[in-house]
Amino acid sequence: MVGFIPEAELDRVLARLAGPYRLYVPVSCAGRVELGEWSPGIRPVLEGRAYGTAKQLFLPRSEELFAFGTHPDGTPRVVQPERDRRPLALFGLRPCDARAIGMLDQVFLGQDPPDDPYRERRQGALLMGLVCSRPGRACFCAQVGGSPAGTAGLDLLFTRIGGGFCVEAVSTAGEAHAAQEDWPAATAAQVAGAREIQQAAAPAAMATPGLAQELEARFEDEVWARLHEKCLGCAACTFFCPTCHCFDVMDAGSYDHGTRLRCWDSCMFPKFTLHASGHNPRLSGKERMRQRVMHKFCYYPLRFGPEACVGCGRCIEVCPVNLDIRAVLAELGGSE
């Protein structure tokens, strides 16, 4: 069933969520859209996608895994950090970002044992997506198998039509939530309107079959020297990538008293692959940029199927030198 929420009702729908959930929505922040915690009076921004990723809510920039110390008798003491245990709810998530969370799930939950801190945040989270009626200037989700109206990773899909939103449950959790909310059914005309928007949003698929195999064969290709030329070697692309998930574990404090932290790391940093011997297998920016591209478009798809890129375009927007991954792929995919 497709439900309908009039635009004026949205505030009440969000208010009901904000009690049991930690609710995040796209908000306007000095000319940018950012994900912000909802509170009464906040109006979600329904145009454009957030500058930052939803990743940071599930895999924070830095998190305390535990604190350690010693009891007065000298025995070791480990303390788990206090966390807000309410589940997360995200409204206005773009389909690309939801798909990215699905990829993070594969990494952090699809292995045995699963990753506890990630699971704690992810479990019970309600992901409410919003169909993109107009792809942005850096968007390329269709090129990597996504869609502006895609449902992967989502629980509920909202389509904004005149006067309100058509809501569809697209997961078991979404169905349970929809049943509980008991939204009035959308009329046939409203459903037809939503379908039209969903179909119009989806551009012709531009998938590049065989790219992974092609890349594997081009590991030593001379093209990398040219492709990486302008890359400054910062980590903006990886930190703003919704699927990049590499982390470092470090201790802060002293030998017998401190915290163990998990922090984002980046394959663009020289220290990322620095061995204890001093040897570094990825010696220059060329090897590091190649790794980033290969991981997303070769190694990951060869092992798990889809590319580890959802085409959100954030890396294009944040790159200080406007190095465009679409151009890189065009060059790599268009070889003889």
């Binding site: 306007s28 000095a30 000319g31 940018r32 859209v33 921004v45 145009e47 454009g48 920039r61 830095s62 107009r134 942005g136 200037r137 850096a138 040219r226 030329e229 302008k230 400054l232 070697g233 910062c234 980590a235 903006a236 990886t238 930190f239 703003f240 470092d248 470090m250 802060a252 932290l261 922090c263 984002w264 790391d265 980046s266 940093f269 020289p270 220290k271 620095l274 294009i316 927007e317 944040v318 200080p320 030198v321 406007n322 190095l323 465009d324 679409r326 151009a327």
Partner: protein
Amino acid sequence: MMPEAALKELAARLLEEGLVDLFIGYGPGSLPLRSTPVFLRQAAGAGGLILGPTCENNLAPYLARFPGERVGLVVKACDARALVELIRENQVNRENLYVVGVPCRGVICRQKLEGRLAGRELTAGRIEGDAVRCGGHEWEEAIPLDQLVHPSCAHCRLPAPELFDVCLGDGEDPVAASGEALEARDARDAGARYREFSREMEKCLLCYACRQACPACYCPECFVDRSQPAWMGGSGDLSDCMLFHLVRALHVAGRCVDCGACARACPQRVDLRVLNRRLEQEARELFGFTPGLDPGHKTLPGSFRPDDPDDFVK
């Protein structure tokens, strides 16, 4: 001839005649009102070179990647000052360089533009005289360029390149009046300044885009990348961010030319000029030194004057 046309012709000639092996300039970017660094090894690509207020990067940091090659480099006035520092610090061999000075009226500050567009997505943009013509879905707006120039440019006192082999154009006036009144020393109390500093530092993710974009940050290994000993944690908490930016500031003190490339590279809009403009001011007021001028002078940190008043040492 317009500077951009002259640039294309010059770059083509330098490459064709083998006077340079590589020419580094700017080409059109993939996003509206963006340009991107281009690296030309053949004259054929020279027609794609562009100039103008979208050329926000400082290209000098790239030079370290091409030791021994003869490189043609496009420099705005601030980039030329960065180059002077690199030459006097023996990082760049002047003889291998062909420096093309270009006129600059200030580069666009994307942060100011975002604020002005208030969430509307820019999908088309072009510069027409003094106006930046912006457009998106069912809207159009012309914004005067002087309202969008980066703060480093708005405060630029030295808009003509000091170092060049060829200087294109006839030294246009920058949009913001040159020689704007020097900022008064910040009179706010330490608490207020600390709060401002903290507010900026809290945004930092330690992605190091600022360091990578900075012509003065050329250490083969940055102190933050040392693991034995680890001088700094990498957690991105406030103390790490402050430590990184303060140490970087001390390292570039007396060498920073306030080109603003670091601030423009920052994806988090950290106002790094909070530190930079103060460094520049201190160098000028305490030592009478402006980084990036007078290549014959020693580096500021490397020079000693017996008559130095030292009156800031308590």
